[in-house]
Amino acid sequence: MTTMLRRTSVSGLIFDISNYLFLAAMALVTLLPFVHIAAGSFATSAEVLGSKFLLFPKTFSLEAYRFIFSEPTLLRSIGATAWITIAGTVINMAMTALMAYPLSRNIKGKRPIMALIVFTLLFSGGMIPSFFVVKGLGLLNTYWALWLPVAINPFYLIILINFFRQLPVDYEESAKMDGGSDPYILWKIIIPLSLPAMATFSLFYAVAHWNTFFNAIIYINDSAKWPIQVLLRQIVIMSSGGIGDVSYSTEAQYVVPPQTIKMAVIVVATLPIIAVYPFLQKYFAQGMLLGSVKG
């Protein structure tokens, strides 16, 4: 027990040090680009254009943020994205859990349904047929077009089914004996015991919703409903040289947004979703089942 920290051998020490150095280097490689963007967003545009790689701005300036928040567009798109993410994740988790639970217990027709699910894992309709389906259902130009077609990810569903399956049946039996119905069991017993899995998948779904861009462009025509990734992509592509076709070189009469604006929008678009991670940390805790089933 106490020997863990005592490394008296030289080779052991060298190994540890190089390990730490390597990991630190990897962490820096991942972190530095983001620091550069964040630093650039707090600098003046002159400084950003002049220096090659900025890590700490000499003059701290909020002009980029002032500019992007001066128009309602950014706030509206953040609001739209937040709404899409929150409502979407709730719908996702509800439907995934509701589908996973019965499939983890032996019910009639389980095999054909599982076969259909695996089928969708391998094949998908493609962009145009999906468009036709969404249009036929009358979901165009509404947020439901962003929530319903992607409501259940088959991969996560299968993992959740397996997770539910490994929870001991004893809980359900004892609950049933006390008069509990299936929905009650799902809500009060199964889900609280599966919090690590639920938290993980919520995070995956949330990130996917936060990044929605292409589906929003195809299905939604009202620009007031667009999420922030649409805005971000337009700014980034337009200011880094455009599409490279004739249209861009003749139409670029407007002033290209300076680098700092681009960086500020990136920061605003990614910070909220990154900030969600620490809050979900506690749900990843292990060992909640230990000791609850005797024998």
Partner: protein, 521 residues
């Protein structure tokens, strides 16, 4: 227990029945109109007008349009200029704005799912899906109708030719200047060094050398550069330099045979010239990783002295430069004449074409009404609403010139969207009062240079291989160009790159263009 079993079976059966019913319901709904113009189904993504095809006289005509925008947020269509325009033309415009970064995808989806508005702006005009859609008759051929409209029939014949598909006109092009290229430079540096404006490439080389080595800003430091460039050398650097040396504009035709521009000895001369500039440090060594914006900043901050760009961009560049250095004198250089005299490459002549899908413009009557709307847009009053806004509110007329009453940023917000809709060639717009001299000079140059403009002979011609393999072929030869300039490739390497290009499909492209030319004559 028995009762429970029976209940279970019935339960399962009912669930499956419901699922089947839902599937059948969806299928039934889809079987109707893929075009989505069913009036009982008000959920088509682009709203076709309720009164399409049957606008009663006096009632505003509803037109749905899809267009793009280049700014972060879409244009505002509720401002007074839009209202005025719709009043003047007696229409109700239903605009769908799609950001440029997503425009090509949206158009492909709209084409494939037949979900189109009545007027569609086509930007990537030679893209395969669009050309296929045109050939299979998805759009009205408007050529025969143009003679009925006074203004539309006045539009430039040559530019219509550029936009023909299989010899037929399908769309209204949006005119853009033909000969835009121009060189902006620091005249104060030139004068301080006692030099004359260069008239040919060799003299320009001397000027660039002096700008780099002879401390033109007189600050005792070696911090100036002759020419600043950025990574997309196809946009300005190459067209400018190769035009001086007499190379063709993208393709050359002789006796019906096609040759690519980089296959000519003049092109190689131009590359060698650029290589010389690179070797002697007269051009920024890291141009391959420089962005366009950085190049502009290099000039405005006084780090570089010459910028190869557009004539009408000089005024903006000048204003930017004056912000950093109020004593700077920015001017446009005269044309550089090489062995074949003064040459300027002609631009495409149009950016985007408005097409009219048959699926949403159902009757010939409706088509004529829409063409009538575009024809009306070419009248002077509509042109000026689109260029300046509402008279009295956004501008006023003083001595026949327009004096802007609102700030430039507000004006851009006002007119950016309108600009996308307009198909006029700016010749009838009111000139700005007190317009920047350099801007006027630049625009005059553009008009004058149209006379010496060298056209691209492949415009309006088709080559299936080119449409398919353009990006790969471009990559082969563009890589070789950069390597040659930076010294990683020698002339032998250059020749073998050309051979590789020919082998990878270039030969077929040349043959197909020749065929297409023969057919169109």
């Amino acid at each position: 227990m028995k009762k429970r079993l029976g209940f279970n079976r019935a339960n399962g059966f009912v669930v499956w029945l419901m699922v089947l019913a839902m599937i059948a319901g969806c299928a039934g709904g889809n079987n109707g109109q893929p075009g989505g113009t069913d009036p009982a189904n008000p959920t088509s993504s682009v709203k076709p007008s309720a009164s399409e095809g049957e606008a009663a006289p006096g009632e505003p005509l509803r037109i749905s349009v899809i267009a793009t925008y280049y700014t972060p947020q879409p244009p505002d269509t509720t401002n007074s200029a839009w209202v005025k325009l719709q009043e003047l033309t007696n229409t109700k415009l239903d605009m769908t704005w799609v950001p440029r970064s997503a425009y090509d995808d949206k158009i492909s989806i709209s084409l494939a799912s037949n979900d189109l508005p009545q007027a569609m702006l086509a930007l990537n005009y030679t893209a395969a899906p669009l050309v296929n859609a045109i050939k299979t008759g998805a759009f009205w051929e408007i050529g025969p109708y143009l003679s009925e409209f006074p203004n539309l029939s006045q539009m430039n014949e040559l530019q219509f030719n550029f936009t023909k598909v299989e010899g037929k006109t399908y769309g209204l092009y949006r005119p853009r200047s033909i000969a835009r290229h121009g060189i902006t430079f620091r005249r104060d540096w030139l004068e301080r060094l006692g030099l004359q404006e260069p008239a040919n490439p060799e003299e320009l080389y001397e000027v660039l050398r002096a700008f780099t080595k002879d401390d033109p800003d007189n600050n005792g430091q070696d911090d100036t550069l002759g020419l600043g460039e950025y990574k997309d050398i196809e946009a300005y650097l190459l067209p400018h330099v190769t035009s001086w040396f007499g190379a063709p504009n993208k393709w050359s035709v002789e006796n019906g045979e096609f040759e690519a521009e980089f296959m000519t000895p003049e092109y190689l001369e131009a590359l060698k010239y650029i290589k010389r500039l690179y070797d002697e440090g007269l051009i920024n060594r890291d141009f391959v990783v420089t962005e366009e914006l950085q190049r502009t900043t290099m000039f405005s901050q006084g780090k570089s002295g010459v910028l190869l760009g557009n004539n009408d961009g000089a005024a903006t560049l000048k204003n930017e430069t004056l912000k950093y250095n109020a004593d700077a004198v920015v001017d446009l250089m005269g044309n550089i004449a090489g062995p074949k005299g003064e040459r300027v490459f002609a631009q495409q002549g149009y950016t985007g074409v408005y097409l009219f899908p048959k699926s949403s413009v159902k009757t010939e009557e409706n088509l004529k009404q829409i063409l009538g709307f575009f024809d009306r847009l070419l009248e002077a009053d509509a042109i000026n609403v689109m260029a300046w806004g509402v008279e009295g509110e956004h501008y006023r007329i003083v001595d026949g010139h327009a004096e802007q009453l609102i700030k430039q940023e507000e004006k851009s917000l006002l007119t950016d969207g309108l600009n996308e809709l307009s198909i006029d060639d700016k010749s009838q717009r009111l000139v700005a009062k007190g317009a920047d001299e350099l801007l006027l000079k630049g625009e005059k140059r553009i008009q004058d240079n149209a006379a010496i403009a060298v056209p691209n002979p492949a415009l309006g011609l088709e080559s299936a291989t080119w449409t398919q393999s353009k990006s790969e072929l471009d990559k082969i030869i563009n890589d070789a160009k950069i390597k040659f300039i930076t010294g990683q490739l020698d002339e032998a390497g250059w020749e073998s790159a050309i051979a590789a290009w020919l082998k990878a499909g270039g030969q077929k492209v040349l043959a197909e263009f020749a065929d297409s030319l023969a057919k169109s004559q």
